[in-house]
Every structure is written in structure tokens, then in C-alpha cells.
Symmetry: C2
Subunit: 774 residues, 2 copies
């Protein structure tokens, strides 16, 4: 690389550093056309300088190699709290002003760029959805590399340059994400180029990877399957030359790997540079550059401390802004020579605004797979097994588009979706043996025993404009609670930005759920993810509890077509009565909740409402109804089933919410309601506490009781079995007379009989195992 | 090692394998004294055979080395779903029958051991709290190594042998836990001996680490800081010999390391053995031993399939049970020769029943650190900074006992607890540089940027009988939602087992909370951990929201002394008005909720109740009260503050819950209640929906609005600012007349004035920043 090119890269880097520091400190006088004065300084100094110069260094060098080689690069900023860097670079390359014309690429725009940063009404301090070119916020650390691999899947022409901070590298999710290379097909997928940025420090501590011997670090990265190249130092000229050479080498190596079929050892870069590089080396006699003290704002109290103010001015002038910007603040034309062509600018890549690339998922329709239901509740099927067949067809229909993937922590077969293996396999780039099944170098299913990695790869895949499904045991989806939070927050902001186009929803299929983890025991029993999801913005989250096979197909069909949501589907894999035929299922799911007339005998005037949400509760409610018909035939019972949990809320709280009139029409305003719910019962109260009939609502659900036992015993332990529901009715419906007491005792006797049988025989009574509605 | 010894280990291993398979299959005929018949077989075959023979192999060899060298070993079973192995081994060594005398070590006991496994009313299929010698359930994978390191801290004589499953090894938390060696002091702490068990498969897939080249695996483990030794094969005799040698070597090496002060490279073992080793090699023509098909029950349908029944019998007889057990089922005396002495048996170690070792934490009392409060709300202090001083004294008082540690993801100083560094440092075994501060080889603070690792190490530390605190940013504690679930489930079961003695509570201090992450923005704003915690059993969970410094001291003092709970304390680090002097604080915290008479003017007859929980809401409620005194002096306002959130529930729901009469006395039965709450508002509804006055309750809280802005703007964005609270009152208290409309408009104007100022100046108005109550 020529010296001129290196000088250009250095100038570009200085410009980005100047613009970064300017954002943290200045609300006026952006070009330092007058001596810096306290009134030019922001009252609250917020931002993270420490990681920023390193990010700027990488970005400038990537620009050079993109320009020289016409590459397609997506930049993932692991240390996303270095927001000023990405804002500076996108402004410099022009993409920021194209996205936000009110922040033009001139002096006025520079003032706005500076002022808006971390300023009320302005832009966040981190790389948030507002930043062009980003699919990754660095607020909560650990997910950059998973996002990068997700983005690279099925994008053979793409290189995802992923900066991994050395703080972030200590997190669990990041530590296991290195292994994702074992799922990347060199020919059919893109490349991920990890750049481990060792700047040595976190908030107040050194980082672990910066403080182990070189040999150990090198072994670790080789052990993860990479061939690391090192760019280490603090002298800019030497660092520029090394970085440029190394980048050329790794791009060559990526091209070489993509041209062979050998098992790849992917290249990566270790950049060891000072934290807060080029910033103040000392402040008040204490070292800052190259230490953790550079993490956020290296010079504090600048408004009130004249010496700090002078130090800031000299630091900023040290970048020689007059060489970098015209008198009106426009970047000098020579800097533009480093900027890649229009869409190759990293702030302009459509991969970071996936909605631009999104193609509708081709759907097979649900009728081909629907279960035939001649009489309600007389046949059985395994809902997720049937769904697996529909997903198989989704895979087939979208095979050419290569736009749909299923992720899971080794549970796709356990969750009975294995029909998908008729047409695809599990992507796998490690060794295979003859006993292996369905492992292929290029498959639509990605399985790795890390819910974090599954979630992160799926997020990266979706945000770059593709479709997908995460299937998981219900209890263990809590492992990604925090990742869900961050994705839901991202979507909330994303939806408000007109330039960000809608992306496919993040779909969770939670199976092997709380009621059927009787065999694995208490640790596997937790329906609380639904509660967790409900805390996020109503415009983003949806929760579905289809009670049988055809409703599951209808819900899944809807969710896979939807955009910009997080959809949670909880569905069983075990044999379940088929309640609704396909037409009824579609209608019921469209309504989200409704009266099951065929199971009711209330003739519009119920004595009691028996409501249910979830497959296991629905069986118990129907079984209770059958018991009531036998023992209290004159009792008018209405059965209400809820598929779309959000329907229970008022329409003022959620777009799917029911108006009071509609709710009252289902649940009455004055009759007892016994509600059997899949999860923790208090959620139903939370959703309905403003309804007229709330005081009559009695909810049964999972109350954190369980062990290794039988499915029916799980219901009994949690007081949600059919007999208990009948007792609840007897206790709450007035005027039942002496029959009530006898029925109550009979139900108690039944519970005792089951209890004794189960403990004697180790399984449920045949009358439960073979139960049907009619 | 002699051939006799190897034969003994093999016999012991066969016995454990026999007992393991017996548990999975048999409900009767445990000694195969008659031909195996369908009625001897359990109706539901539940359990995990695959990992079990490997666990038995390791356990037997550890017995040998413990016996030979008189070691103190704690066994951590990463693949805890291999429950049969630990049950078999503790029964064989006698500790099971000592713990559960109804399962004696004879033929009758063996029948009970078999029958109870995964059987209703029996014991869970995983290594649950019911298993003697265990601190770790393997239900949710990923935490074994973190638990092991936590157990090893401050136990210099202990070796924690931690079996890491190769499935588990794919998880994020496990992947980063390898680094925990960088926090272990070879002299002052115990040793952790990781045994990576590569049996090659998960549920339906090969494991990653079993399918990478040997060199890559070796590099990975060396990169993590270990010197791996390999025990690989499937031929028992050779494997026994190798394992025995390797174990002798690693124990020698551990002793050598503990005798030097060099930076250690700890030994570890890689055991590569077939999944389902010694089980059926083929079933129905398909390979099983050594494949994923051995994961759970290798032979299915044994009751109904005579050929499988015969295969099972021949498999079981292959262990030659008549050589292993007397005619009455007692293990033969020669097996006893391998069992270590009483308390050295791994099922008997007191470290796995930490309550036995627990010493009360010496507490300094809160008065020495309490803030002087002469007049309510006129001075300010930083609650967590003052708490830091109390924690410093806790550290000093318990320095000799070495029984208290603080864990955190690099946020201890950020959370302003840094007074602790006056007397201790951050434990650190990697390189140090001159700029570093507080890094020491032997410190009471453990900081690593992995919330998973912090939580896991703390759990291990507590369950082995010590005390601790986890301090974390509030939003990111969601990262360990799932780990909290598992620990709370563990505690629920632990509390029911009389032989398990109480352990110290798991204490969370969540600071840098939602209302003061204005600078970091939306990704850092999430108060939902409280909601998550509330789903677990009432007897285990506690949540405290101290509104100021002295209440924080009182709450922390209480939590640190408590046993068997999970305590969540949410407290601010920023300057907060001092509301209560130390006596008032203790009284208020003891009550958990109460009327603040000094802030009320209701004279027992309020027109409105203003309630608050949390420090930021308390300030706004008091500020609203002040506005009301100015603008509506005749309005009788009662201020209620809630510290202990559980008080809001009925006493039927939680041990801390208030009876209705008490609740009504605070909140009235008929007056409007405006409740400003720290977190998501619906939680307050969930806790109070059965109260008489619930229909009058209006809750303000965080509703998922936020960005990088000012603290007061955060309140305005979420409608919890003082002006909005006054508007809420005006809108809800009847009969205020025309003054109400004027006040409403005035409050709107104030909000607009603040909004405009903040957007103009980038900071809050001085009247907010310097606000005091009086």
C-alpha cells in the first residue's frame, strides 16, 4: 500500500476521531473557529471515548479495502457503546446525511451531529437502530458475533466484519459464539471476520483476554477454529501499515477458503491498541490513554475547569481539523477518495436494513396439513409433529430463495418437528461419522446447545431480511430473556424509523412445555417466559396458545407471515384431542378467543363460564364440562377458549385487546368464571383486572409445584385437574343445593383414587390416558 | 496401581452401572433372582442412561484416589440428568441410606432405590437437592464449572471435581466459566479439577467439542489456561489403568501448584468414552452404544417387547450382580474397600450441605454508617456509597472467617460500593500493570464481565456455606433470569429436606437502575427482574425497594443475616434525599410499608392516598405532595411508602403479606390511591387485585419509554413525574371545584416548561436537580 494511501487512511481516521470527540463534548463551535469556551461545552458529558478510536481505525481501514476490492461488507459493532464512532463515520461517508437530511454534511450539519449526541431529543449514546448500517446495539454485551454469523448465513457474497470488544469477550454468549464457524458453509454462506479489539480495559478493570500470555490467547483462538493475525501497537503509522497488510491478507484468505471445499480455518484479526487512543495521555497527573480511565469521558468537568477546557481544545486541535474540513465544515474532497461507492459504503448496505431485501415467505397454506376433524375431540394428533410437516413445505417452497431457517438447541426432533429432515438437514461443518443422521454441510436447520447462540443467529438472520423460527423447550427459553428484551427494544425503535423497512417477526415455538415435563422434573417446568414477554411494548409482542393441531397450524401460518413482531407460540408435542376442524380453527384463531358452542350448554345464559388457554388446560376444562353434564346436567356451562392471550386485555392496552362489550359478551358481567390457564395464574388477573366481571374470576394455572411424575399428577399438584375445576364450580355457583356437596365429595374421592393409582402404578389411569371428549 | 485395585474399581463401576440401569427399568426383582418378566418393568421408562456409565467411572476412580490419599473432594455433576449415577454411588457408599434410612443398603433398599427413581412420589430423574453430596442440578445446563469455582473459593483444602458434559460445554455460561481459574488463588482457595466428558452426543446431535480435531481441542483448553490430560477409549481395563494414572498425576500436580506461587496452569482431564458405555451396542439393528440413541432409555417398550426384555436381562446380568451383591442385596464387603472414610465419602461431604458449615456473618450494625437526618428530606446522600462503607466493615469483621464475597460484572465501583477497596481488593490471577488499581491475588471482590459467571460462582459459594452479594446494573440482571429460576427451585426443594441445613440467602443489589440509566439509554432501562422473581415460590423470594440511604442500610443488614431466601434489593447510587433517620428507617423497614405522617396532612381521613415504592418514585410523590400543599392546601393527602413489596399481597399469598384490615388501614377502602412504582405498573395491580380498594388504585411506573436523556425527562416520558401525579389526583379526587382545572393546566404548563428547557439546555432545571422536601 502506498504512503499516500496510508496518509489518506490516517487523515480519515483523524477526521472520525475529531468528530467523535466533538460529539461527546461540543454543543457549538464545531470547527473550533474560535477559542473553545465553556458555553461551547455540553452541560452533561455523556459517551464512551475509550473504544471509539479503535472502531474508527477499523472502519477507515475497511473503507480502504472495500474501495480497492469492491467488497460487500456489513460492520457489526460489538462495542456499540462507542456510538460516536459509527455516527462520525456514517456522517463522513455521507450515509448519515442521506438518511437524516436535517444533519447535512457541512458545518451546520456538524454542529447538529455534535449537539444531538446523547442530548435530550437527540440520538442515543450507543449504536442504536437510529444508526445507519447497524443491526446491532452494544447496550447489553455479548451478542455481536452471533448476530454476525446470522447475517452471514445465505449471503455468499457478504463479509461481516465483527468487532468484538474485549469486555464483551468475557460474556458467556460471546465465548461460545466463536464456535458458530462450525455452522457456516464457505460456499453458500458469507464470511465472518472477527476483529477482537484488545484495548485492555473494561469500566474499571483490565480485560481477561488482554492479560493472558500471548501463547495462551493464540491457542484459545486457534482452539475456536481461527487463524489469528495480530495488529499490535500504539504508533499510528506503523499500525496503519500493519493493519492494511493484514486486512489484505485476510481478504485474500477468505477468497481462498470460499474457493475450496476443505474444512476452513477462518482468518481473524486481533487488534491490540490503547484504550482512548489519541486522547489525553494524562489528566490531573493520572494516566488516561491506555487505561480504564479512558472508558467514558476522559476529561470531566470541562465547563468549570479551565485547565481541562484548554486540554480539550489542544486535544481536538491535535487532529488538525482545518486539514480535514473545509471552512464551511464539509469534509475535504481528498477524504472522499477513501469512501467506497454508494451502496458499498457500510452505512448504506441494505443488509443492515433487512426490510429492503425481505422477500415474502412462500407459505404452503394450512389445509394440506390440517387434521381431519369430523367430530370435536374424538381423534388425537401431535400438534408439533403436524406443524413439522407444514414447516417441511415452507422449506421446500423457499429452498431457492434460501430465506428460511429453523434454529434450536438440539430439540428440533425432540419437539417432533423432524418431518423437516425429509427435505433438509442440520448444517454442520465439523467431523461426521457413519452413525450421524441429517448432518449436512448446507441445511436449513441450525442446532447448537446454546439458546444464546440460536437466538443471536436468528436475530442476525432476521434483521438482514430473512425469515426464521426458534424452537425450544419452554422452560429454557428464559435463558434468552435478556436477549429478547434487547430485540424487543430494538424493534420498538425500528418501527418508529420510516427509513427502516419492516423485517420478519421473531417467532418462538415453545414446546415440551410445563405440563409435559413430568418426566424431566421441576427444573424443566417454567411457563414464565410469557410473563416476561408481556412487559415489552404492546405494539411488538404477541402470545398464542393454540389448543390443538389445526389451531397451531393457523397460528404458525399467521406468525410466519407477520412483520416486526415477537411472536410466542406455546404448543404441545404430545397427543392432543383435535378440537376444531380447519375452518373452525381459522375462524377461532382470527377471533383470538371465543365461545365453543359445541362444548357449551348455556343457551346464551350461562350459570358459569369455564375458560381455558393452552392445550393442557383445554383438555381439563372439556373434561370438567363432561363431568358436569353427567353430574349436574341442569347447570348451564359456557366454554370459552383463548388462543391469543392479548385479546384479554382492554383495547386501550394492546392492539389485539377486546373492547369491554366484547369481553363481557364472552365472560358475562356477573357469573362465576373458572379460568384454566397454561402458565402462572396471576397473569390472567393482570390482563383482566379492569373488566367488569373480574371479581368473579378464579384462575387455575401452574403454581410452581412439580417433580418427576405423571402428566395427570402434575395437574393435580397444581390444582388444575378436571376434578378440581368441578370443585371450583361447585364452590362458586350459588343455589346448587345438596347435590353440590355430594358432587364435591365425589370429586375429592376421584382425586384420591387417581393419586393412589399413580403412586402404585407409576402411570396415569387409562381413563385419563385414553380420554376423549365425546 | 495394582491389578487387584483395578479389578476392584471395575467391580465397583459394574455395581454402579447395574444399580443405574436398575433404577431406569425395574420396579421389582432388583437382584434378578428370577427371570425378568414384564411386571418387573416400570410402565414408564424415564431417565438418562447415556451419560451415566461415564459418571460412574469417574466416581469410582475418585473414590480410589480419595481413599488412597485422604482427599477432601466435592463432586459437581454437570450432566446432572445422569441422576441414576449419583443415586447409585451414594447408595453403594452408604451415604444415601444414612440420609434416607427407609432406603437401606440391602435387597429391600435396592428395590426401593429402583422403584422410587423417576416414579410418582419418588425421586426426580436428575441430580436434584434430594441427592446427598450435590450442590448442582443438571436440569438446565451450563453452570457446573461456575458452581465448582464458587465452591472452591476460600476452601484451600478442597478439590472440586467437576464433570463437564460435552453438551453443556456448548452453552455460553460454561464456555466462559473456564476462565474462572484466573480468579482462583492457589494457596487460599481450593482447586477445581474439570473433567470434560466427551461422550460425543447430545439428544440428537454430536457435540461440537467431540468433532473438532484433537489439536484444536487441545489448543482451546490450553487457551483457557489448563493443561489437559486425555483418557480416551472404550476398553474398560485399559481405560481403568489410564484413568488411575492420570488421576494420580493431576492430584500430584494440584499439590505442586498449591506449593508454589507461580501463575498456575491447572490440570484437567478429558475423558472420551462411549455414550451409554456398557449398554446395548445395538437395538433393533441400529447402533446404540456410542451414539446419541443411548441418550435416554436405550431399550424402549420393554414391557411389551419380549426381545427387548431379553436384551435388557442379558445387559443387566452382564454386570454379574451375583459377584457384586450378597444374596440379600447388600454390596459385597470387598466393594466397601473402595469407599473412602466416613466424611470423605463424596455423598457425605459437608461442603455439599453448606448449612452444616455456615457460620453467622458478623455484622457491624447500621448505626455506625447511618446518615444523620435532623429534618426529613433536607440532606442528600448516595445510598449505595454509604452501603459500601457498611460492606467494608462486613469484610473486615469476617476477614478471618474468609466467608463473605462480593461478585459483580465490573460494576462494583460504578455502583459506588468502592469503599470496600479500603480493606480488600479484586481477586485477580492474571497479569497486572502499574496503572491497575485494587487488583490483588487474594481479595474479597470478584469481578468478571459475565453475569452468568458471577451468579454461578456466588451460588456455589453460598451452597457450600458462605455468604455473599451480587451487585449488578438492574437491566442486565435479566441475563441470569434462568439461573435465578433454577436456584429458587433448588431452594424450594432444599427447604423441605430436613437434613439440608439452611444456607445464606442469595442477595442481589441492583443499582444503576431504570430511572438513572438516562445516560446509557433505552437498552439499559429494564426493571422487569422484579416481575420475574415474583413468579417463584413465596417462601423463597423477597423484594425490597428502600427509598433512601438509611432504609437501604436496614434492608441490607436484614438480607445479609437471612437464610434460604433470594433477596432482591433495588437501590439508587445517585444523590437522594435522606427521608428517615436511622430509628425511623429500622421501624419502617420492619413494618415494610407505612404511612409517612410527617409528609401527610390527612389526620386519619385522607381525600387521597399517594403511595410510592422505590427511590425515584418516592421523590416524585413527595414533590407532588409539596405542590399540593401549595396549590390545594385543603386537600388531605396521605403518603404511604412501601419498602417490602411483598407486603402488598394478601397474607394468604406470601408470608410477608398484609391482612386486609391492615392494607385497608393504609390505603383506605374508598379513596383514590395514586401509586408511583419503580417498575412496570401492572405488578402493583397483580399484587393488590383482591383488595377492597383496588378499583380506586391508579399506578404509575416505567412503561418502556426511554432513551438517552435527563433523569427528569425519563420521569416525564413515563408519566411518573410530580406534575403528572398531581394531574392524576386532580382527575380522580371528586369535588375539587374550579381550582382543579386551573391546577391541571398549571401542571401541564410546568411539564411543557421542563420539556422545553431540557431540550434546549441538555440538562434538568436546577429546581429539579437541587430539589429538597423542606
Amino acid at each position: 500500500m502506498s504512503n499516500a494511501d496510508l496518509s489518506l487512511v490516517d487523515a480519515y481516521w483523524r477526521a472520525a476521531n475529531y468528530l467523535s470527540a466533538g460529539q461527546i463534548y461540543l454543543m457549538d463551535n464545531p470547527l473550533l473557529t474560535e477559542p473553545l469556551a465553556p458555553e461551547h461545552i455540553k452541560p452533561r458529558l455523556l459517551g464512551h471515548w475509550g473504544t471509539t478510536p479503535g472502531l474508527n481505525f477499523i472502519y477507515a481501514h475497511l473503507n480502504r479495502v472495500i474501495r480497492d476490492r469492491d467488497l460487500d461488507v456489513l460492520f457489526v459493532t460489538g462495542p456499540g457503546h462507542g456510538g460516536p464512532a459509527l455516527l462520525a463515520n456514517t456522517w463522513l461517508e455521507g450515509t448519515y446525511s442521506e438518511t437524516y437530511p436535517d444533519v447535512p454534511r457541512d458545518g451546520d450539519g456538524m454542529r447538529r451531529l455534535f449537539r444531538q449526541f446523547s442530548f435530550p431529543g437527540g440520538v442515543p449514546s450507543h449504536v442504536a437502530p437510529e444508526v445507519p448500517g447497524s443491526i446491532h446495539e452494544g447496550g447489553e454485551l455479548g451478542y455481536s458475533l452471533a448476530h454476525a454469523f446470522g447475517a452471514a448465513f445465505d449471503n455468499p457474497g457478504l463479509i461481516v466484519a465483527c468487532v468484538v470488544g474485549d469486555g464483551e469477550a468475557e460474556t458467556g454468549p460471546l465465548a461460545t459464539s466463536w464456535h458458530a464457524g462450525k455452522f457456516l458453509n464457505p460456499q453458500r454462506d458469507g464470511a465472518v471476520l472477527p476483529i477482537l479489539h484488545l484495548n485492555g480495559y473494561k469500566i474499571a478493570n483490565p480485560s481477561l483476554l488482554a492479560r493472558i500470555p500471548h501463547d495462551e490467547l493464540d491457542a484459545l483462538l486457534r482452539g475456536y477454529g481461527y487463524a489469528p493475525r495480530y495488529v499490535e501497537g500504539d504508533e499510528p503509522d506503523a499500525m496503519h501499515a500493519t493493519m492494511a497488510n493484514v486486512l489484505d491478507e485476510v481478504i485474500d484468505e477468505i477468497h481462498r477458503i470460499k474457493g475450496t471445499t476443505e474444512r476452513p480455518t477462518w482468518p481473524m484479526i486481533v487488534l491490540r491498541s490503547p484504550k482512548g487512543w489519541t486522547g489525553p495521555s494524562e489528566v490531573d497527573g493520572k494516566p488516561v490513554e491506555g487505561t480504564w480511565r479512558a472508558h467514558q469521558v476522559p476529561l470531566a468537568g470541562v465547563r468549570d475547569n479551565p485547565s481541562h477546557l484548554r486540554q480539550l481544545e489542544s486535544w481536538l486541535r491535535g487532529y488538525r481539523p482545518d486539514e480535514l474540513f473545509d471552512a464551511d465544515g464539509t469534509p475535504r474532497p481528498e477524504l472522499a477518495a477513501l469512501v467506497p461507492d454508494g451502496p458499498h459504503r457500510m452505512g448504506a448496505t441494505p443488509h443492515a436494513n433487512g426490510g429492503l431485501l425481505l422477500r415474502e415467505l412462500k407459505m404452503p397454506g394450512i389445509r394440506a396439513h390440517a387434521t381431519e376433524v369430523v367430530k370435536h375431540g374424538t381423534t388425537h394428533s401431535e400438534p408439533t409433529r403436524v406443524l413439522g410437516r407444514m414447516l417441511r413445505d415452507v422449506i421446500t417452497l423457499n429452498a431457492d430463495a434460501r430465506s428460511f431457517r429453523i434454529f434450536g438447541p438440539d430439540e428440533t426432533a425432540s419437539n417432533r418437528l423432524d418431518a423437516v429432515y425429509d427435505v433438509t438437514g442440520k448444517q454442520w461443518q465439523a467431523e461426521t461419522l457413519s452413525v450421524d443422521e441429517h448432518l449436512v454441510p448446507d441445511g436449513r436447520v441450525v442446532e447448537v446447545l446454546s439458546e444464546h447462540l440460536c437466538q443471536g443467529m436468528l436475530e442476525g438472520y432476521l434483521l438482514t431480511g430473512r425469515h426464521g423460527l426458534f424452537n425450544c423447550y419452554e422452560a429454557f427459553i428464559h435463558i434468552v430473556d435478556s436477549m429478547f428484551n434487547q430485540h424487543a427494544k430494538w424493534l420498538k425503535t425500528h418501527k418508529k424509523l420510516a427509513w427502516r423497512r419492516p423485517v420478519a417477526s421473531l417467532n418462538y415455538l415453545l414446546s415440551s412445555h410445563v405440563w409435559r415435563q413430568d418426566h424431566n422434573g421441576f427444573s424443566h417446568q417454567d411457563p414464565g417466559f410469557i410473563d416476561h414477554v408481556m412487559n415489552k411494548k404492546a405494539e411488538v409482542v404477541r402470545v398464542y396458545l393454540p389448543p390443538d393441531t389445526n389451531t397451531l397450524l393457523s397460528v404458525a401460518d399467521h406468525c410466519l407471515r407477520s412483520k416486526d413482531y415477537v411472536n410466542v407460540i406455546v404448543a404441545g408435542k404430545n397427543e392432543t384431542p383435535d378440537w376444531l376442524d380447519v375452518d373452525e380453527a381459522v375462524l377461532h384463531c382470527t377471533r383470538g378467543a371465543g365461545i365453543w358452542e359445541w362444548a357449551s350448554n348455556d343457551e346464551d345464559e350461562p350459570d358459569v363460564v369455564l375458560a381455558c388457554a393452552g392445550d393442557a388446560p383445554t383438555v381439563e376444562v372439556l373434561a370438567a364440562t363432561k363431568l358436569l353434564r353427567e353430574h349436574l346436567p341442569s347447570l348451564r356451562v359456557r366454554v370459552v377458549n383463548v388462543v391469543d392471550l392479548m385479546r384479554l386485555q382492554p383495547d386501550t392496552e394492546h392492539p389485539h385487546g377486546m373492547p369491554d362489550r366484547e369481553f363481557d359478551a364472552l365472560f358475562t358481567t356477573d357469573k362465576p368464571v373458572i379460568f384454566a390457564y397454561h402458565g402462572y395464574p396471576w397473569l390472567i388477573h393482570r390482563l383482566t383486572y379492569r373488566r367488569a366481571n373480574h371479581h368473579n374470576l378464579h384462575v387455575r394455572g401452574y403454581k410452581e409445584e412439580g417433580t418427576t411424575t405423571t402428566p395427570f399428577d402434575m395437574l393435580v399438584l397444581n390444582d388444575m385437574d378436571r376434578y378440581r375445576l368441578v370443585i371450583d364450580i361447585v364452590d362458586r355457583v350459588p343455589g346448587l343445593g345438596p347435590k353440590a356437596a355430594r358432587l364435591r365429595q365425589h370429586m375429592q374421592d376421584q382425586r384420591a383414587r387417581h393419586h393412589a393409582w399413580i403412586r402404585e402404578h407409576g402411570e396415569d389411569l387409562p381413563e385419563v390416558r385414553d380420554w376423549t371428549w365425546q
